[in-house]
Symmetry: D3
Subunit: 223 residues, 6 copies
């Protein structure tokens, strides 16, 4: 396999646009409780939201050469999904490369490492999800891969998968399932809205969602 892959199936702008207002938690449920990265992936600030197509990068810890390469070949709508083997004591992403990324139309970054320059990047409005914030510098000396499938946050991510993140964290929808999961997500959202309407009208989740039956089966004793 080539180290750097540029040709891979990728969602078109229309599909990404239709995903733009989806909530990660709803999609995770719609997929049958799949696709959510571990809960230590956090947005750099409250209110961050991202939606785009995964451009996957695997760097060595503390080295971001491949990340600069990745930016150079990125396309509008891409979200960088970057594993540095979980090393958080370096900021692999900063202001300069953010400016470069925004020029390319990159939508955000998700990484198991650290990011830095959080104040100027906040001013730029570029979404970052990471496992830490670190100002420590990087080398640019070691090889890696671009657009190979990678495991990050306990999830297998392929290039072109759809990445959606907000304050709840990040979920990844496999591209092949993008249409069906979008439909499932929208359906779930509607059904949840209906449930909330019924709750506001005085019904209980125990009844609406069928939990009473599950509860009764347990045979618990009440006073």
């Amino acid at each position: 396999m080539n180290d750097v892959i540029k040709k891979y199936p990728r969602p078109d702008a229309d599909l990404l646009a239709r995903y733009a207002d989806q909530q990660p938690a709803t999609l995770h449920e719609a997929m049958g409780k799949r696709g959510a990265l571990d809960n230590d992936f956090r947005p750099a600030w409250f209110g961050t939201h991202v939606c785009g197509a995964a451009l996957t990068v695997h760097c060595r810890p503390g080295d971001n050469l491949m990340l600069h390469k990745a930016v150079s070949i990125a396309r509008p709508g891409d979200v960088l999904v970057v594993s540095v083997d979980g090393f958080t004591e370096a900021g692999i992403w900063g202001e300069i490369v953010t400016v470069a990324a925004m020029e390319k139309g990159i939508c955000g970054i998700v990484t198991d490492g650290g990011v830095r320059d959080t104040m100027p990047i906040h001013a730029l409005g570029f979404p970052m999800f990471s496992r830490g914030i670190s100002m420590k510098g990087t080398t640019k000396a070691t090889p890696g891969t671009i657009n190979h499938p990678i495991v990050i946050g306990g999830v297998l991510v392929r290039p072109g998968d759809i990445v959606i993140g907000d304050n709840d964290g990040v979920v990844v929808v496999p591209l092949a399932e993008a249409e069906s999961m979008l439909a499932a997500g929208i359906a779930r959202e509607k059904s949840e809205a209906a449930v909330m309407e019924r709750i506001r009208n005085g019904e209980s989740t125990m009844d609406i969602l069928g939990f009473q039956a599950a509860y009764d089966k347990l045979g618990l004793k009440e006073d």
Copy 2:
């Protein structure tokens, strides 16, 4: 003992109202440095504040059936205090159950697990204190207890205890001590205000608070 307990001593609305503007840190000190949950219980956003009567729930990790049951029997002024054995890779609390809880007059939730739907719940203004934020889904299949005494965050909490939380974390005042501790808290607050006044007038904490004597006893050398 019954698994689900509905009858237990509980603070009345007046007592809760008088606690509403108390600070957790002050109460912790007034109680003789007791009652504070461990410091990994964090509010879901800066500025969160909660005050209410503990409704305790013990669920299995990743299962929130008992939590839905608990909401169904809650009373206005209750705060859910929920142990899931510390499992943070699931969001046991979300938007739907928040709507249900607010209908019931529940004031907030404190849990050693994870919560989700943080953006819509932020919009609803429902206080959440947890050890993590996770979008991952739950089962509704396993038994637990409601309103048994539970240990959470290193503190024994009984149903009806008073729960107060803010950005410093969460403290629990045993119901039996509620009046005396409220008085102690208010007294301490006044005394602290007086101390700060004296500091602003140029005095040192070493003198005001008697630390100079403690310091002198240590016999340290200064240049």
Copy 3:
């Protein structure tokens, strides 16, 4: 050596003023990737910024007597840099001592322990960087040192060193290198601004920063 040291080389107000608008990440790079504390030192709220002269304190875990002593001998422009051997289950810093510190002209605190009273201190606008937030109380009974060199967050800090912190964390510039590092930091900032200008004009970081050469040496294969 005396336990408490009051005489040590210290930056003057002018030097501190010239450091005031420096970014920690830039200084860290300008120093050759040195001086940054570990990434678990976080500001108590988004947007915190600090700049001052290190007044170093070593306390026992959960005891802040020496910290009160330190405040009593501090000078305007000091930043408290406080090791409690990493114990975060106590708030060694709170509102009262903040008021005392601000009276003294102290600019902020950096500690490997916990802080509390975060809401009133936020209102006061006093910068705090810590490894945790805990309301739990302290004793005032055990000895420590003031203005000895200490290791904190993986960095050796001497009294009088320059401490700069923002949302990226905290960096420490040795006083002896303060002028040269300030110059290096300013130079780096300018050069980074120029790089960002070129990026906005369509150039790639691979070319501007010489990464293409490093990349080519790796001999990776592309499709």
Copy 4:
């Protein structure tokens, strides 16, 4: 309440003797999945085993004065159960106090802090369960409690409760339930032996333990 309590219900030597060969995991199950400390309480070496009556101590972090006091009032068969608010960067227990404890007939120590002198104590054969091993020294300056109920490892422990530990960790049986739980533990052990016998004769746990029915209810699909 007195700070130091010497009179409390305590198991007699016969009861302790009958508990001596019980397994913690079996007792935990026999109690309805209660009593087990969190899994970061580990024996200092493989093969450690302890059984005795809880003598509870609460010290400040990094200070073991109350622990020396506790040893001075201990009785044969006691196990020290010591909270230092979870601070592991100090060894609150070492060779000297081990010698003193063994003279008193103390059976072992369980602590949420650190221990040291592990090689000489291994030679002495004194059981230690802790959350860390640290050589760092302690102060002897701050107050605490002896034989108050304490919460440690997520469990409420009262003086006189029965403490049993092995390589699986530590479990605590409330004294008031000691006889019934011992009987339940022994019964469970026998039933487990019978189950294992049936397994060795070719039966499946799915059938013997009734899991097949639970499994069938889930309606899963098999190929």
Copy 5:
């Protein structure tokens, strides 16, 4: 896809036998630094070694019903690879199911959760690799999958992959690459033996392994 899969490509006994004396670290290198689980997967005791064919199981946290099912369909030479979403505060594996597993010819277990009954299982000699040891009990109520691909310890594992573990941790070789990677592993072992022979004859790793050239390129200064 079926929830429980019994038909999948699987290594034969001969292939497993040839892998039996391979070292995980060597295989990891031979695969191009792939396949190693994260370093918090530890053997339950020093000297543990395992080699077998992955039988993958995904359970809910704290529930091991699917694990009992998995044992019931296992074949000789299988190693259970079990994700419980990383929940370590329950022992999903104990003595009874070990006896059942050994009857089936199962070679060991690798899990991101906890195990218990470590002393009797040590006596039985059944290899366990886990992220924790916990005596806490489990439910048997929730669904899961058997022999689906799972991500565990940062690695995608498919049923039938080859699992090798020792005190260095656990590595997984994709079945499709089993022959080529075994050859590469054996070749690497030989080459490493030759390198060590040369070192014992006085040569330096800098020269033998070509590191001197890499070092010289860095242009570092020596005294």
Copy 6:
């Protein structure tokens, strides 16, 4: 400063020999509670002991080129003290470099990263203290320093300092204080032996060590 330093003050063989049977915990106390590395530095197996002269190395995370260089210039009696910025998901030390180190008379390694090949190295008897065990491989591409002062485990270590480790962890004695601290350590050992003798003769640590006076001052109440 040169990147690689070969000339620095170093303890002679006689001094190291006199340190050989010292206990780390005793030296830490003799130094006034200084010099102990944080408690997550653990020996690779129970019973490990090391004593030697620090040869300090700073590598990038996951890269051990400088470590090979360090071995090539080491002298008999050296102990490698290696910071990789705390990255434990790579084994920076393995069997081949152990063989090379033993040829050079190197006594052991202390690192904040990971080590591998633990079984063959156990057979070779080479002491390793680390923060993790990982089989994952390294690059050999990035620069670092040799024999600069480094901060590791919260301690400033200079080349030539004396490093002593056992199952309690690792302590570092500054070379300049080596003679006085050895004397203090030996004195403390004698005094501790005398204390233990008195304990065996029935005295209490409260009396022998003067803790009764400290205790009395606290004014605690006993029943």
